[in-house]
Amino acid sequence: MPAFSQQIVILLFFLGSLSIYTQNKFTLSGTVSEQETGEILIGVNVLIPSLQTGAITNEYGFYSITLPEGDYQVFFSSMGYASQRIDISLTQNIEKNISLTMDMEQIDEVLIKADIEKLNIRKPQMSVNTLTINTIKQIPAVLGEVDVLKAITMLPGVTSAGEGASGFNVRGGAADQNLILLDEATLYNSSHLFGFFSVFNPDAIKDITLYKGGIPARYGGRISSVLDIYQKDGNKKQLKAKGGIGIVASRLLLEGPIKKDTASFLVGGRSSYAHLFLPLFDNDNVAFFYDLNAKVSYNLDKKNRLFLSGYFGRDVFSIADSFENSFGNTTLNLRWNHLFSEKLFSNLSLIFSDYVYGLELSIVDFDFDSGIRNLNLKYDFTHFISEKLDLRYGINSIYYKFNPGDIRPTSETSGINPFKLIDKFAFENAAYIDAEAQIAENLFIQAGLRLSTFNRLGQDELNVYANDNPILFNEALQIYQKAKPIDTLSFNRSETIKSFANLEPRFAVSYQLNETSSIKASYNRTAQYIHLISNTTSPTPFDIYAPSGKYIDPQLADQVALGYFKNFENYSLEVETFYKKVKNRLDYVDDADLIANNAVEQILLSGEARAYGLEVLFRKREGRLKGWIAYTLSKSQQRTPGRNPSEIGINNGQWYNAPWDKTHDISITGQYSFSEKWSFGANFIYQTGQPTTFPIGQYIFNDIVVPIYEARNRSRLTAFHHLDLSATWTPQPNSKKRWKSEWVFSIYNAYNRKNAASISFRENTDINRNEAVRLSIFGVIPAITYNFKF
């Protein structure tokens, strides 16, 4: 019988055997929150040392553990908080809500710490990193702006295509293969200002988790990673404000109770103003961004909670009077947590998301707008069946509308005709089930299955080609050419043009070797139905998403990973190796013009990608000196052979390095608490140079110097490295006043390394010679930020 139904049979067998156990069992459950603010806490460890077992609070602070009848000591522990112990007599189901107080110098009993670490190494989940906002805030960043995305690139297996690149790359995957969730809503663009800043306001963030592999079945739609970010709910006890003023941007956040201990709100805004300095460079142009985060949380009663969150962000650029460009995400979501019983937790989310891109070119008198809009319904259940088995299941449904572009003349005398690229519609659905179970004393598994489907819905004017072939190969000239459509068909919105279905098994296992170490292995298959149409080194805001359909197949990835995890006194070591294969990765013919292209199927071919590597993470989480050393050795490549032996494909059908392939990637970060008033931070990053294509000759055509090129990405730019330093000064650490503040002094690229963002080869018309010109973006940049709260 097929492999995955064998897995289901094994799973059902264990479920059955576990429920035969006849001793009386009861459930201890509840919510853990922060004493000072009422903020629910994610990832709190709940330990029962006498049984050598435990649980962890979920994304909504809820925990549930079923134990045999008896008396227990239960410990609640989380980094940065004082642990709490409760004594319970479990003779019936008990609900216990806990409030933990903040304690930066937390001193845990050695016993507890060892048990927490054991809990983590037993969990089958591997290839995951969680960063708290406190850790992220201590990583020095460019221009003094704390950046969530820059922090994750410090982790092993995560890189970016370059300093000016937006997006990030996980285990050799492309930037559009990352699922970025903010309070469960999908974001389509994670950066502002060419990738220099992320869209996440650090004051509004609670917690981030990055899954690089072993992706649990409840996530789908992107094949390389999941970046799951949760915002704070808002202080339920007191009205508070927090903010910062920096040289490039400033932010302010206001949070407080609407009804004490029951309902709270949070509103935060951030804006940059660096463009106001541009006149110093003889430049009257404008480049800025702004963000707005808002949230309302309401505890209806013991079993029900409601959240309404929203995000609005925009980037704006304009050049003199000729050009104005603005783009960004808007999301709005409504979530309802409902406890069906002490063992069954559910979350229902309804999400609206809108990504728009607008361009106004007054030089030529027209407007261009494009975007992607979607409506998403998710219903997720966590079923805490017993202390040896947790089940998660749910459904996810997304309705998409893609607007590839709308061109409108802005004046009567404009030479441009109105043109609307055809809207596309799609419906993506998924259902999943995932079981995390303890099979034997030292063996834990997580077995999941996700069934995803994608229906490309009816639209106007779908191109029809002879032999369903939108792209032709001219054998004499050895180039690909567009096929002319022979007809266009229009469909009703409710009809389906093409549908796809994929079964995505997700499997992980962990074997505990001893008290402090374990080995883990995982396999996951993931499917992606929407594709970023982009042939640049890294995504630009012009790039649009296209849905799979008649001429584009979904991307499918298979990833296997194997890892070794060890905890020492104060340190942890994680070593992982992975191999990933991707089918149906899109690639573009050599002179592809993607801008406002109504028929992208005429310029793309389907290829494949592969990536493999070794990741090492050595981390110190406690003590005055904290930080980590991350090293990744990896390779990421792509290949697009011709569709049949007589075609050359792209790059002659040979494997070529992906634009983000970095053989060696070393990231070292450290934070040192020197005293109550001072703490210091430093980063050092070293990466192999980015792949690039060098010319191997030149010729002249029509008085233009034209390079001829080697095979794609055969060469590399120089190595990329920089050292960043920061110092945080808290002038009055013990002040009893309401207004608290700190100064952060930082230097990015302390030794002023001229890292090449690109090398371009061109004619220098002043001296009539060709030259290689290196573009470097950031030299040494000092910055000061003033952070406050009251």
Partner: protein
């Protein structure tokens, strides 16, 4: 239009720095480059030139000429036009006067291999007038020139535009899918332009294949192909094939264009 749209990349460049560096490059075997251009003007005169050169190592300052080839154009109405070498790789024929509806085949024989291409005369439209603006460009202080023409409606048209002056040249290629049937302009912006300078505007009619060829060429040769916005470069193929040895393909293009010119003196 695509190049205008990359203007915003220039803000990004304002914040960064550029410097020339030494890079070691591999050099390929020399390849033949055929620049075969026949232009027909509305007054009945025409120009037929074929410039033959080869590729050179990237940092060389000289491009080698080819003077030992034989060049011939034959037409579908049975005529034959041999080309004579003048100098600097240039072969000329003074009799060829192209007509619409006739197909012309180029044949170049060099080092025992034969290279051919076939094309027809593509029409263009007159350049009507030039509009000057003195507050253009990114700095808001440059002289901007727009050379206007009116595109014929209902027909797929492609154009190659040149703005030539001693202070600098501008090249661009347009396809009419966004401005079909409308008056539109070729855009000229060179910082050093001053009142009194002469700019010669040329508008050539070309086909879709030449348009794709030229757009890619321009992208690879300009300084707007920088940083993360660059597309993957690849050696661009034209419409000429090597019938003796198909792997040894030539670079360059053979086109026949109707040409309209307009000379303008900057105010």
């Amino acid at each position: 239009m695509k190049r205008i749209v990359y203007f915003w990349a220039l803000i990004f460049i304002a914040l960064s720095c550029e410097d020339a560096i030494d890079v070691d490059l591999n050099d390929s075997e020399p390849k033949l480059v055929i620049e075969a251009t026949v232009t027909a003007l509305v007054d009945g005169s025409s120009n037929a030139t074929v410039r033959l050169t080869t590729t050179a190592p990237f940092f060389d300052t000289q491009i080698p000429f080819v003077d030992s080839a034989s060049v011939l154009i034959s037409s579908s109405d049975g005529q034959s036009y041999p080309f004579t070498y003048t100098d600097e790789g240039l072969y000329v024929n003074t009799d060829l006067n192209p007509s619409f509806g006739i197909s012309y085949t180029l044949q170049v024989i060099y080092q025992g291999e034969t290279y051919t291409a076939t094309t027809t005369l593509i029409s263009a439209v007159p350049l009507e007038f030039v509009e000057q603006r003195n507050d253009g460009g990114i700095s808001g202080e440059d002289i901007e020139l727009k050379a206007f023409f009116t595109d014929p409606a209902g027909v797929e048209n492609y154009y190659f535009f040149e703005g030539l002056s001693t202070k600098g040249n501008v090249f661009d290629a347009y396809d009419d899918r966004f401005f079909d049937g409308n008056p539109i302009f070729g855009f000229y912006l060179i910082e050093d332009i001053e009142p009194g300078d002469t700019v010669l505007f040329n508008l050539h009619g070309v086909d879709e294949q030449f348009f794709n060829f030229m757009i890619t060429l321009l992208q690879q040769s300009t300084d707007l192909s920088d940083g993360p916005f660059e597309t993957q470069p690849a050696t661009v193929r034209g419409n000429i094939i090597n019938t003796t040895n198909s792997d040894n393909f030539p670079l360059g293009y053979f086109r026949i264009s109707e040409l309209f010119s307009l000379e303008y003196i900057v105010q």
